[in-house]
Amino acid sequence: MDHTDIFEIGGRRLSSRLFTGTGKYGDDARIPAVCDASGSQVITVALRRVDLDKAADNVMRHIPPHMTLLPNTSGARTADEAVRIARLARAMGCGDWIKIEVISDTRYLLPDGYETAKATETLAREGFTVLPYMNPDLYVARSLADAGAAAIMPLGAPIGTNRGLRTEEMIRILIEEMDLPIIVDAGIGTPSQACQAMEMGAAACLVNTAIATAADPVLMGRAFGRAVAAGREAWLAGPGAVATLARASSPLTGFLDGMGGAA
């Protein structure tokens, strides 16, 4: 990848536009190799009460030190809960990035745009780099931008479904209308779908489940890293001509030929 194409966000300069996650791994020990193979420089984590009954392996042991940590607020059902989790995450001393995720509907796990915007406003004011996860709705995106978000993270399909860019048209509109970077989050199941999102002009993709649950997460991580880079290059290259427009039987501009000097 040409390293003149740098993605700047929250004071970081990233050469990879693939964000990865740490959820759903059969074995967290695979995470460092996935980071390495995919080239990803940003990785998500969640915050939970310590399980006091069994001494669990801590995921932090497996995250390479060069990674930018993107804690999420999963588990939050309201803006207040998201703010509380974000503040706790920052107290961990791993930076001030936060992916806001406010979900109270456990059936479809769709994010609550209104509560997300409220949390975004509070946290942006407190100096967080706020990346809100959202349903791709233009009005919600605008309120998130007004609230101080650093990027917008629309879902491609409901969390964990790996169903691809079901919301493609809505994400296109966000890419077209918003000045903020659009990072497609959730739903991307295959590298070709990530590539498609990048070709559309997405600034980055966040892929967790599809990598973590692959039979070979390291190989899949590499495939996603390449797909995201390829899609980005295609976007930068600009598309080719799509249609050759056949000659109409009665030309629309025929009237110009008969107008002599004036034409």
Binding site: G240, L245, A248, L252, T253
Partner: protein, 370 residues
């Protein structure tokens, strides 16, 4: 917030070189895209597009049908005053031109409105020169109130005002603002406007923005074609429209393509925009901004207006007089000579015969709730 930085950035930009560098392949690529960026728009305006005008026309027709259907909104101008303190070198109403000056009384405004409404039109465009002591905000407010029962949609093409003044006119019942930058080139602008309040390029440039801020539903911009290189002017106009659309997503942004005609002053156009070039400008705008409203006035001849109808036109004037009080009684000297003298009924018949619906009333605001 202002469009000024963008407008000024075009001054030193090597646009001529970029127009020359564009290739036919660039043109066809842009014409095939769902979303065209500024570079694509530039290619569509370049000389390289000339052999591809038919392809651009077909694309423009497709996009216009998709976003506007087979409808064209009709309106007519209503000149309420031709007093003017400006010295625009190209304008028949310029202060130094010795023409009869008048301002309608409110009774005359009502009579004009009734004459227009009798033709079936329900959209009217109030025009004045720039002479706030003769036709100030208070007078225009009165005009809007008088016309409001006759016209669901009232636009103003008057002189640049502050946001608060536009808000007063919106409250009185106005919903549209037309203001042309004339030329986006600041040096030429200064030359063409040697005296009078219109000299202030920046104030005029952000007038559409102030109208949008004040709650106008429609904002119509444009460059007066003939003053300067049309490619540059249309490029700037397109960027201005895109800028407004992005910042005011609730506002219907429209562009007019006024070509200069002979008029009462001695000034003649610096360059003639040919029919073929006007078609290129209009189709390029349509492809760049598929949802842009495009207004074609009666400056254009009937056969040409009819022919370009499918290529992107969404609004037309009809039954036009450019003279003060010209609807209710015989016309005096107009601001410019019109080329399409057809009545509203004639233009409507033409539209229907070509499969288009003439739209007299697009919408009407509900009464304000207390």
């Amino acid at each position: 917030m202002s469009f000024l930085p963008t407008a000024l950035s075009l001054v030193g930009a090597p646009l001529e070189e970029r127009f020359r560098a564009a290739t036919g392949a660039d043109v066809l690529r842009a014409a095939g895209l769902e979303r065209v960026d500024e570079a694509g728009f530039l290619a569509l305006l370049s000389p390289a597009a000339a052999p591809h005008l038919e392809a651009m026309a077909r694309r423009a027709q497709d996009l216009t049908l998709r976003h506007f259907g087979r409808t064209v909104s009709l309106f007519t101008p209503l000149y309420v005053s031709n007093h003017c303190a400006n010295h625009c070198r190209y304008c028949g109403f310029a202060a130094k031109n010795e023409i009869p000056r008048s301002r309608l009384t409110l009774d005359e405004v009502r009579a004009e409105g009734e004459a227009i409404a009798a033709t079936g039109l329900r959209q009217v465009l109030i025009l004045t020169g720039e002479a706030p002591h003769k036709a100030g905000v208070g007078f225009l407010e009165d005009c809007v109130r008088i016309l409001r029962p006759l016209f669901p949609s009232i636009a103003l093409e008057v002189y640049p005002m502050a946001t608060t003044d536009y808000a007063r006119l919106v409250a009185a019942g106005a919903d549209g603002l037309t203001v042309f930058q004339e030329t986006y080139d600041p040096a030429l602008y200064a030359d063409l406007h040697p005296a009078g309040p219109k000299r202030d390029y920046a104030w005029r440039l952000d007038t559409p923005m102030r109208g949008a801020e004040a709650g106008m539903r429609t904002v119509n911009i444009g460059a007066l074609l003939g003053l300067a290189d049309w490619r540059r002017e249309i490029y700037a106009t397109g960027l201005h429209a895109a800028w407004l659309m992005r910042r005011y997503p609730g506002v219907d942004v429209a562009v007019s393509l006024p070509r200069m005609r002979p008029h009462a002053g001695e000034f003649q156009p610096a360059c003639i925009v040919r029919d073929r070039e006007l078609v290129q400008a209009m189709t390029a705008l349509r492809i760049f901004l598929p949802r842009l409203s495009v207004t074609i006035s009666t400056r254009e001849a009937p056969s040409f207006r009819d022919s370009i109808l499918p290529l992107g036109v969404t609004r037309m004037s009809a039954g036009v007089s450019t003279a003060v009080g010209g609807h209710a009684k015989a016309a005096e000297t107009g601001q410019f000579e019109i080329s399409d003298p057809r009545s509203v009924a004639e233009v409507s018949d033409m539209l229907r015969s070509r499969g288009y619906q003439p739209v007299f009333k697009d919408w009407e605001p509900l009464e304000e709730t207390a």
